[in-house]
């Protein structure tokens, strides 16, 4: 279970931090990567690849969708964004809290809200005891209607 959650940094600090990390891992710092990273760090919602692509193209019209996919894959691997998978194959990404945590998803407007709940670690522990699995990660999603859509 992932336990080291970096203290909340402002996006600019975090951007620099990640760029240093990438450089140390001998990945190159390209304008496309910086632009995509910036979009993730500044998104309060949880954008899809397609949404990120649309945004990068605004600043950087030549960027290809393949590059967005490759960058997303890279950022996933180095643990700087979290993938939120959906059954219908419309994945979304969380660049602000890249560790597993529960999400609340409005089935009407598709808004995704973050949520931290301590009980999750308790459940994971309980499951390790009863099942014998060594639990490494999780994906927890609650579906419902958000306050705005209830009105």
């Amino acid at each position: 279970m992932q336990s080291t959650r970096s203290a909340k940094l402002d996006p600019k600090q975090r951007l620099d931090e990640i760029l240093v990390k990438l450089r140390n891992l001998s990945f190159r710092i390209t304008p496309q990567r910086v632009a995509i990273l910036r979009i993730f760090l500044n998104s309060q919602d949880h954008p899809s690849v397609e949404q990120v692509y649309a945004q990068v193209k605004a600043d950087f019209p030549s960027t290809s969708l393949a590059t967005v996919y490759k960058t997303v894959s890279l950022l996933k691997e180095v643990g700087e964004i979290l993938e939120i998978g959906f059954a219908d194959g419309s994945n979304r990404y969380d660049g602000n809290k890249p560790y597993p945590h529960p999400h609340l998803i409005c089935t009407r407007c598709k808004r995704i809200m973050d949520s931290d709940i301590d009980l999750v670690d308790q459940i994971a522990n309980e499951l390790e005891q009863t099942s014998g699995y060594r639990i490494v990660s999780h994906q927890i999603e609650f579906f419902g209607i958000c306050p705005a859509c209830q009105k």
Copy 2:
């Protein structure tokens, strides 16, 4: 939050129950549908569409993949199987406990184990209070290494 969990029936009883339900909803009972349903009810693992397809073809060689997809979609809609979605678009299905419940997934051998945990309803309640969402459903997956794969 779904709360009516039918008492555990043996597969034969449950098959009849579902066939009556489908008939009442004016869906037709075809040999393909019965065969696919049987496979779901007898599977202890959580088969993918492709795996179900392979099994139906053994008994019923003319069955098409499209029919399997359509039947899966139907059974999802009437609430008799549960879809377990994965980020890589390799969905699997639970025909024995078609209500939301946590799964333990071995990332090595891909085995999926069921698990019932009372705390889930508590968490859902807590989230409803703090977020204002009306929670309707959930999807909870824990990833790790199963006992067999740890050796």
